[in-house]
Structures are given as C-alpha cells and as structure tokens.
C-alpha cells in the first residue's frame, strides 16, 4: 500500500466513483490510481492536479455517452452479469437513476393526461387544500408573525396600567409618561400618542373633517420612522403647548397638497388656527398601538402632543417605550413595580390608596391579542381542511396505485428497474402536487384580495394582506407536503411491487393493508368533517343568538353623525345649551325625522369615559369605588335610541340650558346604590369632577358598550354639565333615510356650528362592526366545514366504489347462488357503515376537545352544545350514507352474468 500522501485526492476519487457507471468504476479507478502513483513519484502536486483533470474528463465523457446510448450500454452490462440478481444490481446502479427518473416523469405526464378525470380530481382536491392553507399562511404571516414596520420592533412595548377598578387600561397620564422617561436605564425612550379625533380643515368656503392624532415629539424617532419629505417633530416643537406645527400622511399630501415637494412650509387652517406643515410621513406609515389604541392607519394629520410632567388627572395617552439595550420585558416590569410603589407614596391625591401597576407588553403581541382566538380557530379549521385534502388525495392515489399494481408488477418482472417504477409513481405525485400548488396559489391569491376587501374592523394590519415571495415559498412548501402525502407512500409500495406473486395470482398482504389504510384515511376525513361542521354550527348558533339579543335599544332606522361645534362662539354654557336645543329642533323639523338627540359616544362606539361613582356618604371618590360610564347627553337622545324607562323622566331642555345637576342612570347603578328602593330623587357622588347628581330617571340597562353582555352602570348627564365633545347626533327616521345626512349637514351649517359634520353612518353599522370578527370567523369556518364535508364524502364515495368494484365477482356469484338484491345491498353497505360508526364518535370527541378554541368567540352557546353535536353527527352520517349507498346500489343491481362473463 502506498503511503497516504501517495493516494489520489480523496474527494476526486469519491466524485469519480459517483460519476462512473458501476460496471466501469473498478477498472478505471484502478487504472487512474496506477498512473497517479507513477506521476506522484515525480511531483505530488502535479499528480493531484492531473487526477482532478482526469476525473473532469470522465465526467464530461460520461454525460455525452449517456445521452448518446443509454440503453445499449446497460444491456451489455446486464448480459455480462447474468447469474446475479438483475434487480439487485439495478438498485446498486446509482449512476442511472437520473436518466430513468426523467424517463419516468415523461411517462407519468402521459399517464396523467390519459387519465384526466383522476388528474383533475386530484388537482382540485389538493388545490383546494393548498389554497386554504395559503390563505391561512397569509393571515398568519401578515397579522401574527411579521414584525411591525419599525426599527428593532421587538424591543418596543406598550404600557398598560391597572389602577383600582380599572384594569389593563392602555392609557397613561402625561406625568406618568414623564416618569417612564426618567426611569433609570429601563427605556431608551417613552413616547405618547392620543386617540384619534376629527379636526376641521377650512378650505376656501367650506369645512372638511380630517382624521387627526397627536404624538409626543420623540415618537417617530423612537419607532425609527423618518419623514419622506421635510423633518420630524423636534424637541422644541412642544414648547408652545398648543403644538403649532403638523406632519401629514402620505395620502393626505397627495390628495390635499397635490404631492408637491414644496408642501413643507405650507400652512393649513385646522380647527380655526393656522398650522405649518413640517413634514410628510412615509406611504405605509401607521401607528400600530395595542387593543384600545384607537389610532387608525387612516390618520391624515399629526399634531404635537405635549407632555406635562405634572398632569396626573387624565389617563388617555397611549405610551410606547423602547427597551434599553440588554433589558428584558420582565426586568423593566420589575422596575415599573418600584415606580408604582414610589408614585403611590408621593402622590396620594392622584392615586388614593388604590392598587397601581404598570405593565409593559410586547407591542406586537398586544396588538394581536384581541384577534388571536378568532384567528387561531380559523387557522385550526384550515389545518383540518388541509389534512382532509391530503388524506383524500393520498387515498385516491392509493386506489389508483392498487388498480395499477398488476401493470407495475409486469413491468418489474420484465426488468424495469426499481428507480424507473418509483420514478413513474413519484413523477405522478410531483406533477399533480405542482399543478395543485398552482391552482391553490391562484385560488388563494384571489381569495386573499377578496378577504382584504372585506376589511373587518378591529383586526390589525388586515390591509397588509397580499401576495409576495413568501406566499410563493409557502405554496411550494404546501405542494411539497401534498407531494409527500400523495406520492410518497404509493411510490414506496411501487418500489416493492413483488411482480411474480401478483402475476401468479397470489394474494398480496399489502392489498389488505392498503384497503385498511384507505378506510382509515376516509375515517379520519369524516371525523375531521364532524369537527368542522360542529364548529360552524356552534358559531352559527352564536351569531343567531347575538342577532336576536335584546340590546335594550333599537339600532335600526337611525342615522348618526358627529356634529362638532365651535365652542368659541358661546359666552356661557347656557348659551351653548340654547344652541343645542335649537339645533335639535332644526334637525327634528327635517321631513322624515321622528326624533333626534345627541350623545358623546353612540351605542357600540367602542369607548365611553369611565369614572367612579358612590353614595354621598363618602367625602371623595377613589379608585376603589365602582366604575360607571358617563355620557354627555342632549335631551331627546335616550328617547331616540329607544331605551325603556323604569321610573322617572328623561332629561329636559331646561336641564340642559340651566345646567341642572341631574342624571338619568341605568337600573344597575340604581340597584347598587339604592337596593330595593325608588332611586328617583336620590342624590349620588359622580366622577369627572361633576357635582353630586340627582337621579331623575332610571332606565333598563342598554348594551351600548358591549352587545354580548352588560358591562358597567351608565350615567347620562346634560351635555352642558359634562362637556365631552364632539357630540354625535342620533336621528330616528321613517323611510329609508336617503339624503338625511346631507339635510342634517345643511341644518348644522345653517345653525352656525362652524365645524364640519363627519362620521355619518347608520346606528346599526356600529352593531355590525362590533360583531364583525365573529361573523367573519363564522363565514370562514362555514365555508371550510362545507368543503371538508364535500371532500370527506368524495373520499368515502371513491373508496366504496372501489370496494364494490373489487367485490363485483364475489357478489355476482352470491347473486347467481340466489342472494336477493336486499341481501347484496346490506352486504355492500356494511363496509361503509363500519367506517361511519368508527369515525363519527371520534369526530364528536375531537369536536368537543377542539371547541375550546372557540370558547372566547362564541356567544351564549356552550362549546359542548348537544344540539350542534347531534346535528353535526347526523349531517356527517347522512353524507356518509349517501356516499356509501350509491356505489352499493350500483354493485347490487349489476347483472351477475354480465360481470362473470367480463371477468372471464
């Protein structure tokens, strides 16, 4: 043996032994080795280079030869190796696999084209599954997975506060924002945003509402967002506490400033004051704040929000923090516990002895927390459909394989190599998976755009849904999974096709296991279909219950709109009261209007001011008192929305004009303070700095905060006493209300509000928004359940057809021996019935377990709902029986003589 250094380069030897056909490998490698040894005696390096060169030459030559004459060479070698098992040799003969696989692929294409019904079914089934999977991927990717479009977004957090009875509130007081900034080493920065509001833009003669928000001067830098034009807010911009300068959105720049480069420096007249534009924000900029963040992507104008380090009376500022380098959320939350303890000690006026806790949540996780249950349920359904589609296609493929087993066996016996057989079957799987991937991709991209157009409110970043390269990667990935599911197992079987046994007519044990596998696959599909049908039923019942729920007010036939009023024109609050009464009278005089009134927050607006209340036996309110929602009200409102008065009266115009300290409260507040007594005429201590209020009326609780349940007690206070603006007019009308919005706008202008009317929409639109996530989930899961049921039925049908076909000979003999049609039918039905009997109980069990995912979505329906379980079982059983009956029917009615003759 030559010393190691005299050995040819190992990688080259390895490569050559892979490239050379097996039958030449030994001799050529030996010859090369011999020549190498001679050369290496002179120069190691040159010998090695020479060896590599030779390997290259053989590689090139080998390729040329294979293209020129693949079969002749192989035949020669086979002849030479007579006496050894040719199949075994074929398996060893790696060098040939590429070519034979390619030939298999070509053959597979031909076969699929010939058997187009099978190909079309497979493509459709897999395609629907892959399409659904892609939709799921899109939502998962865009809504739940992709980091927010900010610099180092995973270090951004949103601060929530627990203060006495208020829990998980997304707003801080300005002084607390300053406290966060001063916290040593925890944060790089803390910046605040206020909820969106509508400002009035004066353009020439008219007014126009623009959606606005305010951010503290460092917000954009904290997020790592730079304007595309002009500059960001600077630290000096909030020195003037009104924050004169503004930033505008890209869309606003295009629509209102003509997209002009000199837009920066122009001045806009907003809410009666001139404001210079200092910058234009990037096109895709949106301030993504967590649930309750209330700053939409449509904000057009950004004001400066100044932070007063002494203001500790209004918890309304959404606060974004960036964690300092190396700090974790756990660490900063610990630091915030220290801050809370200190604040409670230092400022008892603001906090009393309430519990105070600040918690920083990951901004992205907080943003998606609210929609996670619905999305998870939808994703789970999609996975189920995908599984059913895969199971279905695998079972179809197996059936086809079974029918072709004889064909494959004959080819195998004639000497077709294992790789060629595998190539044909894998080739079919591959082609079908690719076609299905394409179909699924097309279906899904269409569906994704359709879904995006639905734009359900409350789901963050829904408008980002779309198709991009990651979508393509996902499509390929799913197609690959489909390929593995549908092509892999049949190919494995094909590779082991034992030719002679089959040809000799020996029963293949694999045949039995294949039938069992197919039945199991169909059983799994049926079980999963039961799960989805059950989910759809539970959600459907929830939606129906929710639609039928007694809200305690009448959402139909009423139009709402925000009517801001320039408050500068009034000398006294009473003047404003008179103005509001007159405006209400003007609106009520519009033809078709039956009544009108105004409130600060219309039903299901999603927010209302919250503060404590108490009996008058306490000195002052604190954070441990019970909380109520306070509404600034113009008389006529409660009557207009149609609430039911238990006792007492509605608010009167005199209450408004004279600023009387009176209130209408709901029954729960009355019951809390004056249990079992008549509350009318009694006085209680109210929040928001209001005087003690006398109850003049008690109403049944209307569900204006949450359609699903009663939330907090409610207090309706005259709009001049509790001044929350803008006021929303609610106008009840007969007829269809067409043109009513314009009419109210005209009356408001004529009355001299000096501001633009906006947000004109029907009252029941808010109800629709509030239930949109539920309805979207319902729609999605219903569609998925339907598809799954159809696929499962199809799977069962094809298996039963196949079983009936296989058994046709036996059944012909039975029939010839005198079996009646009924007996034959029963015999054929038994197979399908066994599958159904196995699958449905399993499905019901899975449904009950899986329904936990729906727990937070459903309304007033148990996730163990017996009726839905029963219906799901009956539907699945019905579908199953039909899919079993049809093939059995056709098998039982076949003419036995025909069958036997055809069988030979």
């Amino acid at each position: 043996m030559a010393p190691a250094s005299r050995q040819p380069p190992r990688p080259a030897v390895w490569l050559a032994s892979r490239l050379l056909p097996r039958w030449e490998r030994e001799e050529i490698l030996g010859d090369l080795h011999e020549a190498f040894t001679v050369r290496a005696a002179q120069s190691q390096v040159r010998a090695r280079l020479w060896y590599w060169g030779q390997v290259g030459l053989f590689a090139g030559q080998g390729l040329v030869d294979r293209v020129r004459d693949p079969i002749g060479e192989r035949r020669r070698w086979l002849e030479e190796s007579v006496g050894r098992d040719p199949i075994r040799r074929g398996r060893e003969e790696r060098g040939w696999e590429v070519t034979t696989m390619a030939a298999g692929l070509v053959q597979a294409t031909r076969r699929l084209a010939k058997d187009w019904r099978f190909s079309a079914s497979m493509t459709l089934i897999l395609g629907v599954g892959i399409g659904a999977g892609l939709i799921g991927w899109s939502v998962l990717d865009r809504v739940l997975m992709q980091p927010l479009p900010y610099e180092d977004a995973d270090r951004l957090g949103l601060v929530r506060v627990d203060l006495g009875q208020i829990q998980n509130h997304p707003g801080l007081a300005q002084a607390e924002v300053a406290d966060m900034r001063a916290l040593d080493g925890a944060f790089v920065g803390a910046e605040a945003a206020r909820a969106e509001f509508t400002a009035t833009l004066e353009r020439g003669e008219g007014y126009e509402p623009v959606l606005a928000s305010g951010v503290s001067t460092g917000m954009l830098d904290l997020l790592g967002v730079a304007p595309v034009l002009g500059r960001s807010f600077g630290p000096r911009d909030d020195e003037d506490l009104d924050g004169e300068v503004i930033l505008v959105s890209h869309a606003f720049w295009q629509s209102h400033l003509g997209g002009a480069p000199d837009a920066v420096g122009q001045t806009l007249n907003l809410n009666g004051r001139p404001r210079p534009v200092v910058g234009v924000l990037p096109e895709d900029f949106a301030l993504h704040l967590g649930a309750g963040g209330n700053v939409s992507a449509d904000v057009q104008v950004w004001f400066v929000q100044s932070i007063d380090p002494t203001a500790r009376n209004f918890w309304g500022y959404r606060t974004v923090v960036r964690l300092a380098e190396g700090r974790t959320f756990e660490q900063v939350n610990e630091a915030l516990e220290g801050l809370a303890t200190r604040l409670l000690a230092e400022d008892p006026d603001a906090y009393g002895d309430a519990d105070l806790r600040f918690v920083v949540h990951d901004l992205h996780a907080d943003l998606t927390a609210g929609v996670r249950p619905a999305i998870n349920a939808a994703l789970a359904s999609i996975v189920l459909l995908l599984l059913v589609a895969f199971a279905n296609s695998a079972s179809l493929m197996l059936g086809r394989q079974r029918a072709r087993e004889m064909d494959l066996a004959v080819r195998s016996a004639l000497g077709a190599g294992r790789s060629r057989l595998v190539g044909t079957v894998l080739g079919e799987g591959l082609i079908l998976a690719l076609a299905a991937g394409l179909l699924g991709g097309v279906l899904a991209s269409w569906a994704v755009y359709a879904l995006r157009a639905l734009d359900p409110p409350g789901i963050p970043r829904w408008s980002d849904l779309g198709v991009d390269w990651s979508f393509l990667v996902a499509a390929l990935g799913l197609a690959a999974l489909g390929f593995i599911a549908s092509g892999f197992y049949p190919a494995w079987r094909a590779s082991g096709a034992s030719g002679w046994k089959l040809i000799r007519g020996e029963t293949s044990t694999r045949g039995t296991s294949s039938a069992t596998l197919r039945s199991t696959l169909v059983g799994v599909q049926l079980a999963l279909a039961v799960v989805l049908i059950f989910s759809a039923l539970v959600l459907g019942r929830s939606t129906a219950r929710l639609a039928a729920v007694d809200l305690g007010y009448e959402p139909e036939q009423a139009l709402t709109m925000a009517v801001p009023i320039d408050g500068g024109q009034f000398d006294s609050p009473s003047d404003e009261g008179v103005f509001l009464r007159q405006l209400t009278e003007r609106i009520e005089a519009i033809p078709g209007v039956t009544s009108a009134g105004a409130v600060s927050h219309v039903p299901l607006y999603g927010y209302a001011p919250t503060d404590a209340f108490s009996g008058i036996d306490v000195d002052s309110l604190n954070w441990e008192n019970k909380l109520a929602n306070y509404f600034s009200t113009v008389p006529g409102y409660l009557e207009t929305i149609g609430v039911e008065f238990r006792t007492g009266r509605d608010l009167l115009n005199e209450d408004l004009e004279e600023r009387r300290p009176v209130a209408v409260v709901d029954a729960s507040l009355a019951e809390t303070l004056f249990p079992g007594e008549n509350a009318v005429g009694r006085v209680f201590k109210a929040g928001w700095g209001l005087p003690d209020l006398e109850i003049v009326g008690v109403i049944r609780h209307p569900r204006v905060m949450d359609a699903r349940s009663e939330v907090r007690p409610q207090v309706y206070v005259p709009a001049t006493l509790f001044r929350w603006r803008p006021l929303y007019y609610v106008v009840r009308h007969d007829g269809d209300g067409v043109g009513l919005g314009e009419a109210v706008r005209a009356e408001a202008d004529a009355a001299g509000t000096g501001r633009a009317v906006y947000d004109v929409r029907p009252l029941d639109g808010y109800l629709a928004d509030a239930t949109s996530a539920l309805r979207l989930t319902l729609t999605l899961i219903t569609v998925l359940a339907g598809l799954t049921a159809v696929l499962a039925a199809f799977g069962l049908f094809s298996v039963m057809m196949y079983v009936a076909y296989r058994a046709r000979r036996a059944s012909a003999i039975r029939s010839a021996l005198g079996a009646t049609r009924g007996e034959l039918l029963r015999h054929h039905l038994s197979g399908g019935t066994r599958i159904l009997l196995g699958a449905i109980p399993v499905g019901l069990l899975l449904a009950v377990v899986g329904a936990r995912l729906l727990q937070t979505i459903v309304y007033d329906v148990s996730t163990y709902d017996a009726v839905s379980l029963l219906v799901a079982a009956v539907v699945a059983a019905g579908v199953g029986v039909v899919a079993t009956w049809l093939p059995a029917q056709s098998a039982a009615s076949a003419d036995p003589m025909e069958t036997l003759r055809a069988e030979g």
């Binding site: 043996m1 030559a2 050995q7 040819p8 030449e24 030994e26 001799e27 050529i28 490698l29 030996g30 010859d31 090369l32 080795h33 011999e34 020549a35 040894t37 030779q54 030459l57 053989f58 090139g60 030559q61 080998g62 030869d65 002749g72 060479e73 020669r76």
Partner: protein, 120 residues
C-alpha cells in the same frame, strides 16, 4: 477496402481510433488493459489522446465482439482495485488481418515515393 475514415469488415465498422486500439491490444498481448493500452497509444502517436476515449473504444469493440475482457485480481498499487484485461477475439484478429492486407496492397509501390518526399 477503405470507406471514409473507417474500415468495413463484414458487418462491423471499425473507426480509425478503434483500429489503433486493436493494434495496441495486439502488441501488448497478455498485458493489455485500459491503462497499458492508453500508454501504448500515447507512445506511438503524436496527437493527444484522452483516456475516456480509450475506455469508450474498448466498450464499443467489446460490444461488436472484436475484443473480450475479464477482471483480474486486485493489486495494492492500484488502490486494491482489479484490472480488466482485454484480448482480441477471432473477429478482432480477422479485422486486423484484413485491414493490414488491404493497406499493404494499396501501399505497394507508393511507399518509397512518400518516404522520399517527406525526407527530401
């Protein structure tokens, strides 16, 4: 009989290079295998010869029944790999025999002129 660049014998066509390979095998007698055939050819021709071409020719000649081969024993200097010895078959011998006779009869009388022309 000369046909193009090949020699036609019975049903089998032998290319020029294959012809050379057959001759090399003849010269090497018992010691003919891939590497030695290659060395023999490079020693007697002025043109570059590619190793794979030699093996290809050997395969083709074997397919045509002009040579036969058998594996020898593995040896250490070959990295423990066997040689494939080749021998001419009767068919191979007769191809060489016929081509030699044809060539000699055609060269008869012109050889000295060529020699003179190239040397002069």
């Amino acid at each position: 009989m000369i046909y193009g660049v090949g020699v036609v014998m019975g049903h089998e066509t032998v290319g020029e290079f294959e012809h050379l390979v057959l001759l090399a095998i003849l010269r090497l007698s018992d010691e003919a295998y891939g590497a030695s055939v290659f060395e023999e050819l490079t020693g007697h021709t002025n043109r570059p010869i590619l190793r794979p071409a030699v093996y290809n020719s050997l395969r083709r000649l074997e397919a045509k029944g002009l040579v036969r081969s058998e594996l020898g024993d593995p040896t250490p200097e070959r990295g423990g790999r066997a040689k494939r010895f080749v021998q001419l078959t009767a068919g191979g011998m007769s191809v060489l025999h016929d081509s030699r006779r044809t060539l000699l009869s055609l060269w008869d009388g012109v050889a000295t002129e060529i020699d003179g022309a190239t040397e002069g």
